[in-house]
Symmetry: D2
Subunit: 486 residues, 4 copies
Amino acid sequence: MVFAVSKTSSGREYKVRDISQADFGRLEIELAEVEMPGLVSCRSEFGPSQPLSGARITGSLHMTIQTAVLIETLTALGAEVRWCSCNIFSTQDHAAAAIARDSASVFAWKGETLEEYWWCTEKALDWGPGGGPDLVVDDGGDATLLIHEGLNAEEEYERSGKLPDPASAGENAEFRIVLGILREGLLADPKRYRMMKGRLVGVSEETTSGVKRLYQMQANGTLLFPAVNVNDSVSKSKFDNLYGCRHSLPDGLMRATDVMIAGKIAVVCGYGDVGKGCAAALKQAGARVIVTEIDPICALQALMEGIPVLTLEDVVSEADIFVTTTGSKDIIMVHHMKKMKNNAIVCNIGHFDNEIDMHGLETYPGMKRITIKPQTDRWLFPETNHGIIVLAEGRLMNLGCATGHPSFVMSCSFTNQVIAQLELWNERGTGKYEKKVYVLPKHLDEKVAALHLGKLGAKLTKLTPAQAAYISVPVEGPYKPPHYRY
Amino acid sequence: MVFAVSKTSSGREYKVRDISQADFGRLEIELAEVEMPGLVSCRSEFGPSQPLSGARITGSLHMTIQTAVLIETLTALGAEVRWCSCNIFSTQDHAAAAIARDSASVFAWKGETLEEYWWCTEKALDWGPGGGPDLVVDDGGDATLLIHEGLNAEEEYERSGKLPDPASAGENAEFRIVLGILREGLLADPKRYRMMKGRLVGVSEETTSGVKRLYQMQANGTLLFPAVNVNDSVSKSKFDNLYGCRHSLPDGLMRATDVMIAGKIAVVCGYGDVGKGCAAALKQAGARVIVTEIDPICALQALMEGIPVLTLEDVVSEADIFVTTTGSKDIIMVHHMKKMKNNAIVCNIGHFDNEIDMHGLETYPGMKRITIKPQTDRWLFPETNHGIIVLAEGRLMNLGCATGHPSFVMSCSFTNQVIAQLELWNERGTGKYEKKVYVLPKHLDEKVAALHLGKLGAKLTKLTPAQAAYISVPVEGPYKPPHYRY
Amino acid sequence: MVFAVSKTSSGREYKVRDISQADFGRLEIELAEVEMPGLVSCRSEFGPSQPLSGARITGSLHMTIQTAVLIETLTALGAEVRWCSCNIFSTQDHAAAAIARDSASVFAWKGETLEEYWWCTEKALDWGPGGGPDLVVDDGGDATLLIHEGLNAEEEYERSGKLPDPASAGENAEFRIVLGILREGLLADPKRYRMMKGRLVGVSEETTSGVKRLYQMQANGTLLFPAVNVNDSVSKSKFDNLYGCRHSLPDGLMRATDVMIAGKIAVVCGYGDVGKGCAAALKQAGARVIVTEIDPICALQALMEGIPVLTLEDVVSEADIFVTTTGSKDIIMVHHMKKMKNNAIVCNIGHFDNEIDMHGLETYPGMKRITIKPQTDRWLFPETNHGIIVLAEGRLMNLGCATGHPSFVMSCSFTNQVIAQLELWNERGTGKYEKKVYVLPKHLDEKVAALHLGKLGAKLTKLTPAQAAYISVPVEGPYKPPHYRY
Amino acid sequence: MVFAVSKTSSGREYKVRDISQADFGRLEIELAEVEMPGLVSCRSEFGPSQPLSGARITGSLHMTIQTAVLIETLTALGAEVRWCSCNIFSTQDHAAAAIARDSASVFAWKGETLEEYWWCTEKALDWGPGGGPDLVVDDGGDATLLIHEGLNAEEEYERSGKLPDPASAGENAEFRIVLGILREGLLADPKRYRMMKGRLVGVSEETTSGVKRLYQMQANGTLLFPAVNVNDSVSKSKFDNLYGCRHSLPDGLMRATDVMIAGKIAVVCGYGDVGKGCAAALKQAGARVIVTEIDPICALQALMEGIPVLTLEDVVSEADIFVTTTGSKDIIMVHHMKKMKNNAIVCNIGHFDNEIDMHGLETYPGMKRITIKPQTDRWLFPETNHGIIVLAEGRLMNLGCATGHPSFVMSCSFTNQVIAQLELWNERGTGKYEKKVYVLPKHLDEKVAALHLGKLGAKLTKLTPAQAAYISVPVEGPYKPPHYRY
């Protein structure tokens, strides 16, 4: 796949939907900055010393207004940036336009095909002949995956002369595309990913699903570079995953369907941080919420909040709204959807799109798909003429149907990202970080939170030295042992 | 003002934004029908006997998808319908298109000027030479006002030869337009409104603000025809006003600004049904809510829910979000807005647009208005360079910035409308209704509620005759005395 | 039944559990006064003019600490008072002791038999040879009932010489006792109730159940004197019934059973004001709440709050906690209780004790009753050896197992009582009040609420004259039309 | 101090308030068993093999009904048990009586003096000449402290001949008593604690404050035996600390003061698990909650829940209710209390009694203490004649003024205790556990939660092998990485 790439007057490459939306994007970026005190504070604290000067950063993370503020924080600290989205529906085109015009190379638009998606990812990693990026900001691990798979392919090719075979991906349509892209790339430049690996200092990963992949690679010994697990900063996962979803789940439901949530029965599959946020939002809006869980501890938490824990089978024909948040796969299958009420709403807010059986829907004999509007489809079962409404084609509905998490909570997450990037870059020659997965130290985690208090008018209490001694913590923190759960 | 009016192939008039959106509108109307069991039930109960056959109905009520289902219920019962919106921003253009194409004359589009707005209202009342409508569905009372003012003008003109003088409206820009329209109309046909009055059977009024006007006219003895106060059906005001706003306020905030509600300080001016819904929504989303009230009873209700009651002055410089719900006027003035934090959000969800001092903003020396996107403006005070964000130009933000209340709750309201229209029409010759304001009897109110239970899986308990006797109610209801407050 | 009646040194009669608890009672009364700003304000506003001077008031209302503050407000305004409780379990003995020692004649103790209960009621009405009270404060209408039945009996006796026949009450054990008492009384003084009627100015009634009786008497034309329906003051029923129960239901459950509410399934029978308060409390504590309702409007309200509406039969074998709030009778029958889970908790918070089928339990063959502690009994079904736990023998559990509603909310209710008593007394010679049921005018209702705002730090907004004119209300209120539902 | 110790007919020692309350205690224990499925399940799973046979267990943990079920689970598994309470006010005398009569040696009563308290602790550790207990169940670490201090004293005495000097404790009145007891004990038997240490296999510690002490000892290298940190089992701290307090805080407030929580301003000092539970309870009851925090992460959590974070100084003169939950010391000092509103309520729900400055109150010149009832005191400042109400003399108010956490949540905690005791005992000879602090492995934590699901009707979803592989967990769990925060 070859796309024409545009260039700004200064020569920066981009491909976005409509560069003329840059002014609109800029206006919303300016509004967002007021809501993102952590990032703005990074600019004033670190900007003068330009600590990221010389660093090339590739980002693969939803190209939204909030991400635009992140990108411009990285550039304000001296970095050069190339960016793509990590989801085909999550780009906000006006945000992409503003960044492309003003700050960084962007390859992203709302409603990419999967081929386009991976083309964008490859483009964001392609820094030209000098090798790839120094640092990667990843969300879900697709940039990291492409690098690892690219390296595998190059080594295999060198060993055996075999090119990647898309057919080997079987039913996994997306991986077929990845292999195709790698095949083409290999023919063009058989050392690209090895050059990339040589240069790359590390990655900071945004989300649960990407972190899971990193720990698997660490366990397998295949991780190529240090990784910072940003997701498990408390100031990320206990805020973004929980309060972000509490905000953006109903937002997505409302924008996509205008359905009244009050009075409805809603099933939330999974009661982790994301599920907790979703369940809270639905309950508060007046729905009767039911949770499905595999983990007895999370199940008992739901029960203590007055939420019954049942299996999907128990409730599939009674519920009105279904949300998957598990991070696992094959949660709502076509045989479930067939039993649902007419116009039941089915959506996913987990990172990957394999929680809902879209393949089963697409291949169901006689199935009719009626697109109400983009990212809102009614799938009509031929036997019953009952339809179900699937949002964002089973992908992240809050980003596909609305605008994702709001700025304030993303400021918490992205301040962790900035700090992680700084840490990786500052320690690039010191050997401090091995090819392992790291979490930021607690004092930085507390710092991120602290940067967000003033905006909300909060005042912290100061420990006296006597109190600090009594509870055995430094006066300035960190205040909790590592195992503390908040 | 003269607009070209389009006609369908069957000769029905309309003026909408884009008739090609009719298919999209139809899809959403079909979804909405599944959520509006009261209206669908009216169709099946009354449709066969065509009770509204021969009735001409003019509606002035937000031209949304939900209203489309109302209109098509009225036509399914035999009525002929002309419709306009009751707010310049509330029309959903695809809904208007579908109705214009398929069912009724529509004069409405999102983003009318005030001149266009009153032109549409007049057009919806204009049934040609045979006089006006038999029945009016009104929301806020603008159609009713136009008829009353029109009649006044005609009588004054006959008496004194004086035409309405727009200049007499002083600073009231909107009333200046009304007078202008009446002046033009009077020149064209000096008996139009008297003919209309002669034919008109009655009006059913949707909302608190319109009802207030009706009671004032009843008190003054100027009411021209019977009116049904639909707003004060319990199944309307205790649901639409309360739960509708609980849903659509955050929806409007999110679509307009994407602001994170959690952690913010939000001021709700007024704690009536609308204010209660707004405060509940904001609180549940994690805001710290403060209420302003004039009524000590409502104030004490807020306190019992953990919400402080203060004056606007007390909190104007600390809060992040301001919502007016009072039904009164001059609530948030420009001198208040000047003291607000940068990017404070100011919006109104009361029926009329005089709660927020838009005139004060517009005429403030040096004020700069930056339109972020339609219905979302940032107003920049020159002294401080601080901006405030005003939604929907001070008009109903849930309809201007989002899609209004969801279908299910509107089904409750609109089923009351259908019943009111039926009652007025059925009793048109009986003298049952005088030129007064009536509320629907409680058994009909209970019926409306009952029609909405099945969709939510509810099962009522049946009184035994012994129990019914013990509490002195009929087994089949009504179950409560008139003064019962729910 | 004859009890020895004690006398204070000043000659005031009383019969309480233990006069030595008066000091303890006084301490709690003093704490309560700080929480009852409405009553304290009545003392300072009206006390100096002694408006109740000369008035004899009989009260039949739970003899609690809060009631003590009411009684001493009445005496501070000049009244002479005799008091009994309106429930066999609701007296707080230390409150009774303090009042008996310091302020009024009291005949009440916690754990009366029914015979003792009616003896106390008669005693509270017995002002000696000069006739009965001038005014009655009633709660549930038992004092009113005794007067009406007494008069009936006297008239029947005069007419036919027939004495009341306890056997005629059939299975109604309590009415058998009433007839027995009237029979004895009639033999002692055959004109007592006619003298009482002659003197009596009116009654103010506290609760829904008593009000229902009054409206029935009004409808039948048998009401003997004017009655003020205090219950339907907004500042009473929308606060005491709702927020009072939200507080005292979990209090009663905890004190009686220490059961963890979180995670449990709780059934609330009835979703009026009391049911709404109970459901809210249980939901907030983490229970899954189910409501049973006969009224479709109340049912739809429950649904909008996320609470399913089912029949008792649907859930009887799954739920853990059952609460009756209907004001009707025969709600939870022994055949229901037999199907419940082991140790299901069954309780009533409605005024009368006929919502739960205690008679069915008591007469069930082989039933075993195990008293865990006073007002907490386990009833063991012989077939299953499963027990259910019944609180307060089916009577008001919040008063039987805890201390009833807290002071602040009772201050709202009781300030209405004081105002009602003042109104009846002030207008005793004017003919303003007929033998009908009246609600206090809205400006007094608003005043009661206003008296409670300062304690909670609230500040009201003042209408400008222009705003007041615009919404057609006086600047000083009342602010709402009579039909307004809050 | 020497108390007469009673003996059962079987020769078991005890000292309780009133052995005749044993029947009442037994009834409540039987009710509690139905609510404690984890403990009951331990009895049926492990009882037959008598795994604790031969083990002597000393417990120092609130002697409540729930603890009674724990004790009888330990004895059902074969252990011999001696018990004391870990708080002077927390014993339920009927629970102590039932256990003393039926199952174990108990030395505990509600309202011990500090001397009595430490006498009881020593008594519970005193198993006679054969040495001390094999295992300790500790709550707050007082038994552990006594053993460590006892050993220190013996070693010092052997080294230098010096006896513990109570005067050396300075102002710490409680430690003075400890030293006094050790002094007496040393004179009687100078090797007691060394014998105890020799025998002791380990301790399982219940609460945050005790765990903090253990980690300090581990860090100092002074820990004498292995310790299991039961507190940090997720199924303990995320349930007992959070949901237990959510239940028992309002319970304690209501029983002690009957205050209406709705409408009040409540300050919660500390927003850890306990603080989160307290804040949730108060908010749900209608209070306006304010949190004080030192930790920016916890502070940001409060803000996201709509709770402002301020300092105590900011709000001390406006709030009505103050609750300390910090685990630190010197939180509410007498100079704070002096500024509070009349009848402000001050209480502590943290483990130790040094959060509220009771010493400051007691020594304030002219202070007057009025005991309303046991554990509810009004302290009157002489300057203002304003009083504040202090609950449980600054000790755990939920146990001092109510009955502590409810059975169900304690079943989670205590099942962890049983498992911890089993683990320590089973591994006593294996060297698996060093003199360190251990947390139970996650699969046992999950097991504890799982044992509590059935009672609440929950059904878990089962992972398929493919799903388990995809998310890299075993089908049967554990399901989460160690750092997961729930």
